[in-house]
Structure formats: structure tokens, C-alpha cells
Subunit: 480 residues, 2 copies
């Protein structure tokens, strides 16, 4: 491990993070709130960042693969630590664990909250809370489109294999260039959404906060009852559309914006993603019309909202789906695991992996009927390389393994089975609201301290595509 190099990088990260704290400071000024928590946090973060940068600045050296994993993991852990300062210093949360939980939930774009009362908080603090989503979301896009392919993990190699596109060395020769392009797209789309939300009646503060929550598939709201509190069909549909956009691969958005209008529908994962969403919405509309709503438009609107919110792993709500039929509740839990697309801000197992696992399962059945035939697994028109298949299989099993272990640990704290199971599902998949005592009308405040740490771990592990974090737990990682 090149510790000096890592600490230097973390210094740069903290300097950037501190600069972003100036935005909520602006809102705190504007709304004439106490600026101490934010300004103190800004100074601490800036000074620590500068010190790290100055002391550990090292000659330009190549990051090795192991350092890459450590950097990403430490980056998120450190950001959440300093990001928790405004919450903690302002005494808005009962303890540092709670502040850290909220900040990690923000940066991992989970949106699980320990707040029982949101609207009492100062606007500056709420703005920072939502901004952590937006920063984390951007971080994940850069991570998954620019870094992961270089590390050889995840579904993105397949994206590269299927069609040459804007991934790492493909669109632009360098990570920095790729990152810049993605930033521009992210800001552009966010701007459009914020504008539309203001058209729908939100003020600038609310529009920006909810844009951050949508584009990062995060889910923090400034309202106690989330998007439901606006009770506006226009706002609901705007957010539905932008959640679906945020859950799609940002490389596709780049291509679309550069004039390749067909790129969405030449992409296998995108077609699968849209197909799952459409089929789910149809099923939900029927069930909700029969059991909950007395007209088809309400059933469609609330069905579509909850389906898209959970599937893209956003976690905004317009209805308390825990009062819906068991069937729709369980269906939503399944959608939690499918999740968004690779290269999006969404979490979960990801559509591309689920698609390939389904295809593989079917292929095994075909092999039984034709035992001597050689049937290759294809994605679009290209065969899927063996090492990528192995990586996906390993991912699926490890994901389930960690999911089950973490749920088991939650039951050890005395939580009931549904709450244990779904709180882990809602954090490892980076959704936010779950079922049981962490349902859409409740929050994570009552979870015991150890349980909060377990869920913080789940958020991180789910967000960083599992391997990135877990690899640090095997002894070989630490050997020279």
C-alpha cells in the first residue's frame, strides 16, 4: 500500500469537499440561519485537506490496482466523516453515529434517514444533506465509467464489448477527460430537471434539493412525507422521468447528446431496464386500481412513481406502499435487487448482471436438451468473455452471501425478520425506505447503534460494487 500517495489524494478530495460546503453556506446566509455548523465544518475540512495535501504530496506515481481499491473505499469513508460534521456540530442529530449514518446515506445515494422530523431543520443543513447525494452520484458515475473498467470489475466491460462508446479509454483518452465530460452531462440534465420542478411550483431551494435527490438516485427530501407532500401530478411525472434517466447508463446520455439518437435502443441493457420498468408499471397499475385507487390515473401515477423510485434505487415516495397489498410490497423488494443500469447513479445488482444471469440459466437448460451443442452466451451480437461471466457469477453469490450475513446480524440485535431483511436490502441496494419498522412512513432512528454501523457498511459495500470494499477483507490484499 502506498500510504503517502493515498493520503495525498484524500487531501485533494477534502479540499474539493470543503469548497462544496460553500453552497449550503450561501443558503444559510440567504435564509438568515446560524452559519456556525457549516462554516466550522468548512474550515476543518479545508485545513485537514490542505495539511494532508502539503505533507503527503508525492512525486507523480502510478496508482497500483490495490491502491485504487483502497483509495475509492477510503474516499467514501472519509467524505462521509467530514460530510457528517455540519450535522453533528449543529446538534441536529443525537449522536455522531447518527450524523455519520446520514452522511454515508447521502454520499452513497442511499437516502435512508435517521431524522424523524425533517422540516424543522435549517435550510442550509438540508441543502448540504441533499448535496451529498449529488456529489456521491457524480462520484459513482466516474467510478463506474472511468475507474471500474480499468480495474477489470463489474458489468462495464460488457458495455465496452457490445458497442464502442464513451467508457474510460474509449471516448476520451484519459480518466480526467472522461470525468469532465460526464460532469457536464450531469450538470446539464440536473439543470433541466431543476427548471421543470420550479415550473411545477417548487422554489429554487426545493427544486435543487429534489434534483440532487433524483439525479443521484438518492432520495433525501426536504419534506417529511417526501414527494407526496406536493400532491402534484406534474412534479410526480417530472421526477419519474428523471429517475429513469438517472438509472440509465450515462454513456448513453453522452451519445444521445452528441447526436447518436439511436444509441439507447441499440443497447441491450437499456432495453432490458425499460422492459422491466414498463412491465412492472402495468402490473402495479392493475393491482392498485383493484385494491387501492378508484381511478386508473391515480393507480398509474402512484404505481409508476414507486416502481421507478425503487427500481432506480432512488427511494422517493408519493404513497405509503406498506399499506398496499403484500404482492406489491414483495414485488418492490424484488425490484430493489434488480436496481439500475451499469454506469448510472443507481445501485442494486444492476440490470446487466440480472440479464446475463437469466440468459446463463436458460442456456444451462438448453444444454440439457442438446448436450453436445456448443451454445455461446451473447450480449447483443458479441459473445460474453469467460472472465466477465466469472466476475458476474462471483458478484451475485457474494452479494447474496453478504446480504444474508448482514440480515442475520440484524436479527441478533433483536429486530424482527422483515425489518432485518428489508433494512439490509434497502441499504445494500442504496434505496432508503424499506418495510417493517423502516417503512416509507418511518425512519432508521430506532435501529440500535451496532445495527446502524452494519447498515453503514452495507451502503458502502453496495455502492462500491462489492468487490472494491470486500477485497480489502482478504488477507492476500495486505501481503506484499
Amino acid at each position: 500500500m502506498q500510504l503517502r500517495l493515498l493520503l495525498g489524494f484524500l487531501g485533494i478530495l477534502l479540499i474539493f469537499l470543503s469548497l462544496f460546503m460553500l453552497f449550503p453556506l450561501f443558503f444559510a446566509f440567504y435564509y438568515k440561519e446560524d452559519i456556525t455548523p457549516l462554516s466550522t465544518s468548512f474550515l476543518i475540512t479545508l485545513v485537514v485537506g490542505l495539511l494532508l495535501f502539503l505533507f503527503f504530496r508525492s512525486p507523480k506515481r502510478e496508482l497500483r490496482i490495490r491502491d485504487g481499491f483502497a483509495l475509492v473505499t477510503l474516499g467514501w469513508i472519509t467524505s462521509a466523516f467530514f460530510g457528517a460534521l455540519p450535522f453533528y456540530l449543529g446538534h441536529f442529530f443525537p449522536s455522531f453515529v447518527d450524523s455519520y449514518f446520514e452522511a454515508m446515506s447521502g454520499f452513497t445515494t442511499t437516502g435512508a434517514s435517521v431524522l424523524t422530523e425533517i422540516e424543522h431543520l435549517p435550510k442550509g443543513i438540508l441543502f448540504w444533506r441533499s448535496l451529498t447525494h449529488w456529489l456521491g452520484g457524480m462520484g459513482i458515475i466516474v467510478f463506474s465509467l472511468a475507474l471500474l473498467p480499468l480495474l477489470g470489475v463489474g458489468g462495464m466491460q460488457l458495455f465496452k464489448a457490445e458497442s464502442p462508446g464513451p467508457v474510460a479509454d474509449k471516448i476520451k483518452p484519459r480518466i480526467a477527460e472522461t470525468a469532465k465530460t460526464l460532469w457536464k452531462i450531469y450538470i446539464l440534465i440536473s439543470g433541466v430537471e431543476a427548471f421543470l420542478l420550479m415550473l411545477g411550483g417548487m422554489n429554487l431551494f426545493e427544486a435543487l434539493c429534489h434534483t440532487f435527490g433524483t439525479m443521484a438516485t438518492g432520495g433525501f427530501s426536504t419534506k417529511n412525507t417526501s414527494i407526496g407532500s406536493y400532491n402534484s401530478a406534474f412534479i410526480d411525472w417530472v421526477i419519474i422521468i428523471f429517475m429513469v434517466v438517472a438509472g440509465a447508463n450515462f454513456s448513453l446520455h453522452y451519445r444521445f447528446l452528441t447526436g447518436k439518437f439511436k444509441s439507447y435502443f441499440n443497447n441491450t441493457e437499456f432495453k432490458f431496464y425499460i422492459a422491466v420498468i414498463v412491465v412492472s408499471i402495468v402490473i402495479f397499475t392493475i393491482i392498485l386500481r383493484l385494491h387501492i385507487y378508484d381511478n386508473i390515473f391515480s393507480a398509474l401515477r402512484h404505481g409508476a412513481f414507486q416502481v421507478c423510485s425503487i427500481m432506480t434505487t432512488t427511494g422517493y415516495t408519493t404513497a405509503n406502499f406498506e399499506k398496499w397489498p403484500y404482492f406489491t410490497q414483495f414485488f418492490l423488494v424484488i425490484l430493489m435487487f434488480i436496481g439500475g443500469s451499469a454506469g448510472s447513479t443507481g445501485g442494486g445488482i444492476k440490470c446487466i448482471r440480472i440479464y446475463i444471469l437469466l440468459k446463463h440459466g436458460y442456456r444451462e437448460l438448453l444444454k440439457l436438451v442438446h448436450p453436445k451443442a456448443v451454445i455461446s452466451l451473447k450480449m447483443g451480437k458479441k459473445a460474453i468473455p469467460y472472465d466477465i461471466l466469472q466476475s458476474i457469477w462471483g458478484f451475485f453469490f457474494l452479494f447474496m452471501f453478504i446480504f444474508v450475513l448482514a440480515s442475520l446480524a440484524m436479527t441478533l440485535l433483536g429486530l424482527d425478520i422483515i425489518t432485518s431483511f428489508v433494512s439490509v436490502a434497502a441499504t445494500i441496494n442504496n434505496i432508503g425506505p424499506g418495510l417493517g419498522t423502516v417503512g416509507p412512513a418511518e425512519n432508521y432512528a430506532h435501529i440500535p447503534v451496532i445495527g446502524k454501523w452494519i447498515l453503514i457498511f452495507c451502503m458502502l459495500v453496495g455502492r462500491l460494487e462489492l468487490y472494491t470494499v470486500i477485497v480489502m477483507f482478504i488477507p492476500e490484499f495486505w501481503k506484499k
Copy 2:
């Protein structure tokens, strides 16, 4: 499909089945009960069997692979149909679905019951109910040790790969010979258990019924409160030991009985199986001592019983584990999925597959640390062939896929999430008792009719190693 050939085979199967109905008839005579239901069922089964055999007897022809799958699946479906006759004709069950559910639960060695009151039933009927377990258990051993390796499915090829042993063409040149050897072992071990249970105070009828339930990892009891009603530490420990024996690979028992005493501990799957059991028992003993029992011996005895019962997929109970801490309940659900060993009468995903999936997951992590190293997956000292790995990966994903779809279907019938989830887990893994409204103190009587059919399907699919049944659902199976 060679339909004539299949019908001929089914005829032979039914003739054998009818002959086994003579045993419960003996008990019905002995206890001076109404013999009509059993004798009528015997005659119907025998006559249908003879007719099929005589009409569809065909010149000796080779079974093709597809016919093999169809024969096994149809064999179980047909046995359950005729096996349900005594239940239905005697009006002991409210409907034919219920009778069929009970018979399928018997032949698949599941042990899920729709009976609310067991002890009122005539002894002859109860004997037949337990005998279906024993026959199904034997059927599964022959299926998994003699047929599956020839079809190229399942974990048994690995067993062959690791150490040359008594599988299909290895111990004996022909399936028929292998089957005979396995029958002898099965009868021998059953005899020992029945003898010990009689020593523990059971009469011949009870000892045989509970031996059938143990050796087949079935779980039907003749008592309303299962093994708990005897309240005997001796009986509990005898059953614990024989459940563990029944959940181990019968090829190992064969080797042991032929003087190769070390064979158990040269076998990777067996070591893994025992390790999981021992670790689970230790954890359960601690938790139960802290929360439920006031002495360590009771904690150990009831912890060990429930762990071994669920892990081997038997389903006998000595305690209502639904009143235990959530942690132990959830732990038992995890053990349900691990299940017994390949080549045993146990169900579940099976230890060998779980072991390989764990190893594969770890290997993927190692590959991240050493991206250029070639790390082969080994079982004992031999590398695992690629096609077997693929088969196992496909199995795991398809298993989870069917499990989730079936649970979702159960919620559509209005059942709560825990009941839906665990009723499918308890049937697809061939356990019996679950949690929620199908807990150890309850039964499956209240499940809606469609739900019963879904669970019947789950029992069959879980029992026949998934592929055998599912392959018949893909269109290519039916093409010439």
C-alpha cells in the same frame, strides 16, 4: 418423446407402488381398522399399473436423455396421484388437492402437512403416509447417485471427479446393480434406527414410521407435536444422529460399510457438511441457553435437534422454534437453503454447491489482488471442470429465480410476506415446517387451493434438482 416407452415404465412403477400398499394394509388389519381405503387404492393402482405395462410394453429400447427427464418427473407426479388415493378414498382429507398435497409432500420427502389433527387418523393410513417418505427417499438416492451423473446434472460428477467411488458406472457397472446396493444400505441403516427407537420406548408402528421420516429426511410424524411429544432425550439423540446420516452421501456409507473407514474424512463435501452442522449447533446452544433454556443440556439437545432437522431438510421438531429469538429463526431459514449433501435423501441447494460457490466467490476476490495469476478452483486435489461450474452457477441462479417468483405468486393470494417467503422456502427445500402461519405449531391446511398447487410444484422442482423439471418448460424440449 417416446410416449409408449414412458407409459410402460410408469406401469412397472405403479405395480411396485401397489405392492408397497400391502404393508399399511397389514397394520390396518392388525389394528382392526377399516381396510377399504387402502385395499381399494391397492387394487386401482395394481390394475392401472398392469394395464399400462401390458399395453405399452415395448421392445427393449434405450431411454434418451429427454425421456429420462420426463420419466423422473412423471414418475413422481404419478406416484403422488396414486399415493393420494388412500387419503382421498378414506375421506381423511377435505379435498383431492389436500390428499395430493400430502402425498406429494410424502414422496418428495418434504413433510409439509395439511392435517390439523394427526393422531385421530387410522394407523394404516399413517403408516402409508410415512412409507411414502421412505419410498421417495430411496427414489431420490437412486436418482441422484445412479441417474443424474448419466444425465450430466448436479454435483455428483464432482464426487466422481474427486475420488473414484460408488457412483453409477463406478461401483457397479449398471444402474440396476447400483440401485440394489443402495437399497441394501438403506434398509440396513433403517433397521438399526428402528431398533434403537424401540429401545427408546416406541412400539413397532411408531418406530417404523419415524424411521421412514428420518431416513428419507421427510418429517411426517404420527404425533401432533412431532418428536417433541415423546419428551425423551434418548429418542431425540437417536433421531439427530440418523438425520445427519441420512443427509450425508450414501456412497460414503457404502464405502464405510465395505471397510473404507476413512472415506468420510477424505470427502470435502462431508467435511463441509459436518462443519456447518457443528458450528451451527454451538451458536444455537449459546443463544438458546441465554434466551430460552435454563440449562446447557436442554439448549444443546433442542438446538442440535432443530439445526440437524432443518439442515438435513427433515423437518421434525422438538420445540416451537417460532418462539425462539428472531436470530435463530432466520438462521434456520438460511440452513434450509444449504440443505444436505449430494447423493443423500436431503434437499436444499446442497452442501457441495454452496461450498463451490463460496470458493468461487473468494477466488474472484483473489483475482483482483493478483490480476495476472491463473487461480484454478479445486475440490480436494482436483480442479473443478468448467462445465460443472457452469451447471452449478446456473442452478443457483435458477433456484433463486424460481424461489422468488413462487414467493411472489403466494403474496398475490393475499398471504403475508413471511408466510409466502417461508412456505416456498420450506417446500422447495423439502423441509416441511416453516415460519409465519406455516410454523412448526401450524400446518398448510389454510393455504388457498392455488397456493397449494404452487407449493406442490415447489416440492417437485426442489426435489428433482430443478433442471429435471424446469427443462420441460422450455420450448426446445418439445422440438424434434
